[in-house]
Symmetry: C2
């Protein structure tokens, strides 16, 4: 039993001791879900010779709006390695929102394909090249961003890397953009991810204004 | 018109030139939403004398599972300053999931209260102290994490900071944890955020397995 050492108060209490004793996959699932919901993006890259790579990431986050910067976390020793190598080689990459109609294909890009295999072809996505940007976009995506590498930070605690990039180009349907500039992600059919395996579709509860004391 | 310089292909194309020309709040809304859905956590802190602070963050992300690390982005020159100061002073803080029943109160914590005002009291949350952990938890939250500061990274592009911490304690209802260890966030009533102002409730589309080529 995983919860042997876990104390009950009115809620379940998991502490460092019980975390250490957890079975590895159980712990991975627990801590991949416990941070809350995540973004769902396919990152498209190419090496200098034009060989492409596509991989799903659930860690794309907002860093700043002026100029527009976005970040994401990668694990360069695993399946993310090709994405990292291509970004370092070319300086550019694309973010492509995962639409509810292709979550299964998008998830399949997380498989460990060999370097000479393009996940575009292996998982059934079409490469799209827009305005001479050298990194491939995903034709099926309804929101796509052309990114330029800016800086990287090695997280010493566990050797993961934060990649920060600048948004150079954004492509999306004009109908997705509200009058205040915000993108209506539900209208765009963009999904959210919980953990490593679950895909969900959000429904609006409420939208508030700028809060004042 | 904001879109004067924007070229139409089959999709709307926003480029660096049109980004520069955007009205500031419009651009903020656009790039706060365009990365996709975000997590929703209240971060609880206290200074050495025990004065508490509570603020909503939409940038909490998974960094690693073994040991469990989570990160978040903050802007230390603005409303996030008290959170940052308290974390640096005490080394500990809490993450508390935003439940659908209190999104309006949670959003109110984003207002710029003075240092001597606790958002717990101002916004109607109850402080909870568990197992001698010195940072305050949010009693109303159904999933809460006790965090220990590990490292920080200054993002030079725009002077934001990535804070990385280790999960020391987790409190949640046992019924939220699936047999594989993953937390069922929909069962927990946890919400997701789009941009700065919109709160949404996700519904499961599908859960896949570990993908293989």
């Amino acid at each position: 039993m995983v919860f042997n050492s876990i104390k009950k108060i009115d809620m379940l209490h998991i502490n460092s001791e019980s975390i250490d004793k957890m079975e590895s996959r159980y712990r991975a699932n627990l801590f991949n879900t416990i941070s809350g919901f995540k973004s769902a993006n396919l990152i498209g890259t190419a090496d200098k010779s034009g060989s492409t790579n596509l991989a799903i990431f659930n860690s794309v986050i907002h860093i700043g709006a002026n100029p527009p910067y976005l970040g994401f976390i990668l694990r360069p020793t695993t399946v993310d390695r090709h994405t990292y190598e291509n970004i370092k080689e070319t300086g550019v990459y694309t973010f492509n929102h995962v639409h509810e109609s292709f979550i299964e294909k998008a998830h399949q890009t997380s498989a460990k394909y060999e370097k000479n295999v393009s996940e575009f072809e292996a998982c059934g996505f079409e490469e799209e090249y827009l305005n001479k940007f050298s990194a491939p976009f995903v034709k099926e995506s309804k929101i796509k961003l052309g990114m330029q590498f800016e800086e990287e930070h090695l997280i010493k605690s566990n050797d993961t890397i934060l990649i920060v990039g600048k948004v150079l180009n954004a492509y999306l349907d004009e109908n997705f953009v509200s009058v205040d500039g915000s993108v209506d992600l539900t209208k765009a059919g963009t999904v959210t991810i919980s953990g490593l395996y679950e895909y969900l579709k959000p429904t609006k509860l409420n939208k508030f204004g700028y809060a004042k004391p």
